[in-house]
Structure formats: structure tokens, C-alpha cells
């Protein structure tokens, strides 16, 4: 298939359209504006609907409504806007409504900076809203991967009846790369997906007290509420099979760099430079940051490994919490950090690697 040159945000939107997404609602915020703008142009061409909501809060709830009526639906935003969406995301998780949303994250906290950052890691992976729900969180490090993961995200969402988050950053969202786009779902396939949700979707049912659709993001009865949470916990536990990770030159490594998203891409180029210079450096790059590939850290040869280097665009470090749980104290963990909209420098990574090797 021919490759086309696309900006990350637009590629994400096109991948969603090809996956059968037929409803998108969003609200302007930098650096993700190209996603709603693309949908605004594209949706009419495929018989879908684009709505510019009056806020992030309204947009996510429009998506909650559309998805509850059985349509593959998506929203997107960037860091402060994602915080506003947390209300609707929590409702979708509680009511088990499949939606996909993308965070093209920027500096923070607060209004932060409009430039790229990775400062929403803990929010994305641990607590994207009230109540302790979990989601599959996918972290692309190239535009191609953003396309592939967005396409797959809709299948995960429908399979689990649960929200799925694409955790990208302003670099992935705004840079252009050649991509191969996945096949366009046919109208028949899209209709079949919608039909498969008819049993629970809120579209109107024949009068039947027992079998009407009743979408409940909460329960009056505490026993039922607990049972729902137990069911959700069992779902979350089942995601171990869905772990995706890139392990690059790990076996003999004296330094393991670990990073996700754009930081991992920069780190990987640092690994290649190190290897060319005869330095034994490897990379562990989680693609699913939730579920997290803790087991990959068991593959490190701790007899030779002098340290794990956590590389992330967040100060204080956040990703490092999961890294610690993977390393389990078997070697020291160092960090190489930047924040506030500054992009990770490869030189800083190389310097940090040398620092560990010199120890």
C-alpha cells in the first residue's frame, strides 16, 4: 500500500475514520487542534458526525451519548482539557461504554505550556477520573504507530466495553511522517459493529420491563455496585495478554534505557550511537503503558547491568514509578528528565548513559 505523508494528529483522525469511528466531538486546545479540524472536514465525506462542543466537558459527554447509542466514537484533547474530560471518562468506565480518546499532551501543571511534554503519565495510567477505574493506555512513538494503535484502540474498546486512551505528546501530534494507512472499514462492517451493540445500546426498545436498555454509571444498591467493580477488576486483570513492548538489545546491556512515546524514540537513537561506539546499551519501551510490561524488566541481565536509565519529559519523574516496580531493586535507577514543554535532548541521554557506565 502506498505511503502518505501525514501529520500525527491528522493521521490519528484518519485511522479512527478507517476503524469505523463515525462520531467525534472535541474542543480547541493546542497542540491537538488538527484532530477536530480533520474530523470536521472528513466526517461529512463518510456520513459521520463532527460536533465542536462548547467545552471539553460537553464534548466528552456527547461522545458518551453517541457511544451509548452504539456508534464508534472518539474525542481528543491536550493535558488541561483531558482533566476536564475526566468526568465523562469516569462515567464511560462506570457504565462500560466503549470510547476512544487521545491526549496530545503538553506541559503542565495548570495551563502549563503548549509545547510537548509527558507530564500526564500518572493521571493517564493510574487515575484518569474518580473511582479507581482502569483503561488500556497506548503510547505511540512514531506517527505510524499512532495510526496502528488508534485503529486497534476501537477494537479494544468494543471488546472490553471500556474507554481506551491514546497517550501521545505534542511531538507525535504535530510532526509529519510517511505512514501506511490501515484499510477502511466498509459501511456493512460498520453497521455490523453497531448492530452487535443493539442489546445494550440506548436507542429505544419494545416495551419489556426486564430487557430495556438501562445504562447506569453507578448503582443505588451497594452490593450491585461492588459486584460491578469486581467484574471490572477481573477485566483489568485480563489485560496482561495485551501488553505490548519493544525490547531492544536488552540481553547483554550494561545500561538499560527505559522510556515511552517520543522520549523512547530519542532514546533509541542514543542506543544506536552507543552501540556503534561499542557501549552495551539497550532499551525497554512500553507501547502499552497500561497494562505495563513489568515482566520485560526480568529479562535484564542484572549481573552485568549497572543501571536503568529512566528517560522522560516530566519533572518530577512519573514513569519511573512503574519502572521501579519492574526493576524491583535489582539495580540502581537513574533519571534523565526535562519538563515544561522542553523536548528531551539526545545529548543529555548520552551523557547520562556515560555517567552510569563510568560508575
Amino acid at each position: 500500500m502506498a505511503r502518505v505523508l501525514m501529520k500525527g494528529c491528522e493521521a490519528i483522525a484518519e485511522a479512527a475514520v478507517r476503524a469505523g469511528c463515525r462520531f467525534f466531538a472535541g474542543y480547541p486546545i493546542t497542540p491537538q487542534n488538527e484532530i477536530p479540524e480533520y474530523f470536521a472536514r472528513r466526517m461529512p465525506e463518510v456520513g459521520g458526525t463532527f460536533v465542536q462542543g462548547e467545552s471539553e466537558v460537553a464534548s466528552v459527554n456527547m461522545v458518551y451519548g453517541a457511544a451509548s447509542a452504539g456508534t464508534r466514537s472518539m474525542t481528543s484533547s491536550s493535558s488541561p482539557g483531558i482533566s476536564l474530560k475526566s468526568e465523562g471518562i469516569s462515567y464511560c468506565a462506570a457504565a462500560r461504554i466503549p470510547i476512544v480518546y487521545a491526549n496530545i499532551s503538553r506541559g503542565g501543571p495548570g495551563v502549563g505550556a503548549i509545547q510537548p511534554a509527558q507530564q500526564d503519565y500518572l493521571q493517564a495510567t493510574k487515575a484518569s477520573g474518580n473511582g479507581g477505574f482502569e483503561m488500556i493506555v497506548l503510547a505511540p512513538s512514531t506517527v505510524q504507530e499512532a495510526v496502528d494503535l488508534t485503529y486497534a484502540a476501537f477494537d479494544y474498546a468494543d471488546r472490553d466495553r471500556n474507554p481506551v486512551l491514546i497517550l501521545a505528546d505534542g511531538v507525535i501530534g504535530t510532526m509529519m511522517e510517511p505512514v501506511e494507512l490501515p484499510p477502511m472499514k466498509t459501511d456493512e462492517e460498520i453497521a455490523a459493529i453497531k448492530a452487535s451493540k443493539a442489546a445494550w445500546a440506548c436507542t429505544g426498545h419494545k416495551l419489556d420491563y426486564a430487557n430495556r436498555s438501562w445504562i447506569q454509571p453507578g448503582q443505588w444498591n451497594t452490593q450491585i455496585m461492588q459486584a460491578e467493580n469486581e467484574k471490572a477488576a477481573a477485566l483489568y486483570a485480563s489485560w496482561e495478554k495485551d501488553v505490548q513492548v519493544e525490547e531492544y538489545m536488552v540481553e547483554d546491556a550494561e545500561v538499560i534505557i527505559t522510556a515511552y512515546g517520543v522520549s523512547a524514540r530519542i532514546a533509541k537513537s542514543a542506543v544506536d550511537i552507543c552501540r556503534a561506539a561499542g557501549k552495551k546499551v539497550g532499551l525497554i519501551r512500553p507501547i502499552t503503558v497500561h497494562p505495563f510490561p513489568y515482566n520485560s524488566f526480568d529479562k535484564i541481565n542484572y549481573d552485568v547491568c549497572k543501571g536503568v536509565l529512566d528517560v522522560e519529559m516530566s519533572i518530577p519523574a512519573q514513569f519511573v514509578h512503574d519502572v521501579r516496580m519492574g526493576v524491583k531493586g535489582r539495580c540502581p535507577i537513574e533519571t534523565c528528565l526535562c519538563s515544561g514543554g522542553n523536548i528531551m535532548s539526545r545529548e543529555a541521554v548520552l551523557k547520562a548513559v556515560d555517567g552510569i557506565l563510568a560508575k
Binding site: T49, V57, M62, Y64, G65, T203, D208
Partner: protein, 245 residues
């Protein structure tokens, strides 16, 4: 003998609503059900309930329902109606939901002229949470968060949602009714019917604001609450068609 008035089939046989004695949420839910029955719309109906007492009918009605986050019912309705245009989509919201926390969604949805129906229950108080001040609380009316009563200088004035939405171009039908007398109950039912018909005809945004009682949080017995509606609420919130075009 022929039965000439009985319970709507849209209220489940063995269930009784959780509303307090005299609460007119019960009345309005009954009327919505009667209209759905009479217009043969039960199998197309989806009720989007707000948060608060307005959600207390979910388990005894017989048609599809979904709970929206507090104030967001019209946004949820937007997503649903746009993707499921053959369904009858209506929101059921109280004054805290529609006129306070959801004000942005409410006005924006009306301004887009979404082809949905809003049933807006105005009883001038927060019911479920225990009688706090609402945007519609009358001047001088006591609330648990306005123990000396609503004071204009501190709290502003009661909000008139029909009149506010009447400033917009897109809405097609705005009517304020009550359920304090049998005659007004009939008018409310007719208003709901008209609002649903507008949606079937693709006309766009319709809202019926219904002035109701909250005997429990007004601290009145149900019959005194009827008098309170007549003497206090209706002078502030006059009934009638605000717009029909």
C-alpha cells in the same frame, strides 16, 4: 364498566417511585409515560436523566434510560440524537442540573437547535442533596445553604430559563407549565406531547419547563406546597407558551 383512566404501561407494574409524597416528579414521569403510550413511541424512547432526584424514576420506568453526569444531559442527548436520529431523545433534568451546573450545555444545545426535547423540572431547590439553594430559588425563600433566605444582593435573582433561552434564535418551542391543578396537569401533558411531536417533525429544540413542588425541602405538607406554587412560585414563574414557531 369500562376503565377510563389507569396507570401507564411505561411504569412497571410492581414498582412504586422513590419520590416523596406529593412530589411532582412522579406526576411528570407519569405524564411522559402517558404521552409515550398515546403517541406509540415507547419503543423509540430514550430518557437521559440528570443527577439529583430526577434520577429516582430510572428503576420503575419501562423505556431505555441513561444517566448523564450532573448537568451534561443535553450534551449526551446531542451525541445520541446525532447518531441515532430515529430514536426519541429527551432529557429529564432538575433546576440544579439544567440551570446551574449544566447552564453551558443547556444554552449551547438550545443554541445549536439540537432536535431533542428537554423536560425541565423547576421546584426552586436542590431536592436529593437536602434543600440547598438553586438558581431558581425565590427571593426570601430559605434553603440549607441560604439560611436567611435568598438575598438578591448576595445571591442574585431567580433565573428564568424559558426567557433566557428565548433570547436565542434556534429554539422552536418553549413553554412553562405546572402540575398543581388537574387543569395544569392536562396542559403539561399537552406540552410534552407537542414537544415530542416537534422532535418527530425534525423541528429542533423544544423545552417544557414544569413548575413543581418539593414539599420535603420546602418544609411544607403536600397540600400547603400546592398553595405555595400558586401564591409564590407562579407569580415569579408565569405559565404559558414563551415561544412556538
Amino acid at each position: 364498566m369500562e376503565k377510563i383512566y389507569s396507570r401507564t404501561t411505561t411504569i412497571q407494574e410492581d414498582k412504586v417511585s422513590g419520590f416523596c409524597p406529593g412530589c411532582m416528579h412522579s406526576t411528570v414521569i407519569k405524564l411522559i409515560g402517558e404521552v409515550l403510550d398515546e403517541m406509540n413511541l415507547v419503543d423509540k424512547a430514550v430518557c437521559i436523566t440528570g443527577i439529583g432526584c430526577c434520577g429516582l424514576h430510572m428503576d420503575y420506568i419501562a423505556y431505555d434510560t441513561i444517566t448523564a453526569p450532573h448537568g451534561r444531559a443535553t450534551a449526551v442527548a446531542t451525541g445520541m440524537k446525532r447518531t441515532s436520529p430515529d430514536s426519541l431523545i429527551f432529557t429529564y433534568q432538575g433546576d440544579g442540573d439544567f440551570a446551574s451546573i449544566g447552564l453551558g450545555e443547556s444554552i449551547s444545545t438550545a443554541n445549536r437547535g439540537e432536535n431533542i426535547t428537554v423536560i425541565f423540572i423547576n421546584n426552586g431547590i436542590y431536592g436529593m442533596t437536602g434543600g440547598q439553594m438553586a438558581p431558581t430559588t425565590l427571593l426570601g425563600m430559605k434553603a440549607s445553604t441560604a439560611p436567611k433566605g435568598r438575598i438578591a444582593e448576595e445571591h442574585g435573582y431567580p433565573m428564568h430559563m424559558c426567557e433566557i433561552l428565548n433570547q436565542l434564535t434556534a429554539p422552536r418551542y418553549l413553554e412553562r407549565t405546572s402540575c398543581n391543578t388537574p387543569q395544569n396537569v392536562i396542559k403539561t401533558k399537552n406540552a410534552i406531547k407537542k414537544a415530542f411531536q416537534n422532535q418527530l417533525d425534525g423541528k429542533g429544540f423544544s423545552m417544557v419547563e414544569i413548575v413543581t413542588s418539593c414539599p420535603t425541602n420546602w418544609g411544607l405538607d403536600p397540600l400547603d406546597a400546592l398553595d405555595f406554587i400558586e401564591q409564590k412560585m407562579l407569580p415569579e414563574f408565569p405559565l404559558g407558551v414563551i415561544r412556538d414557531r
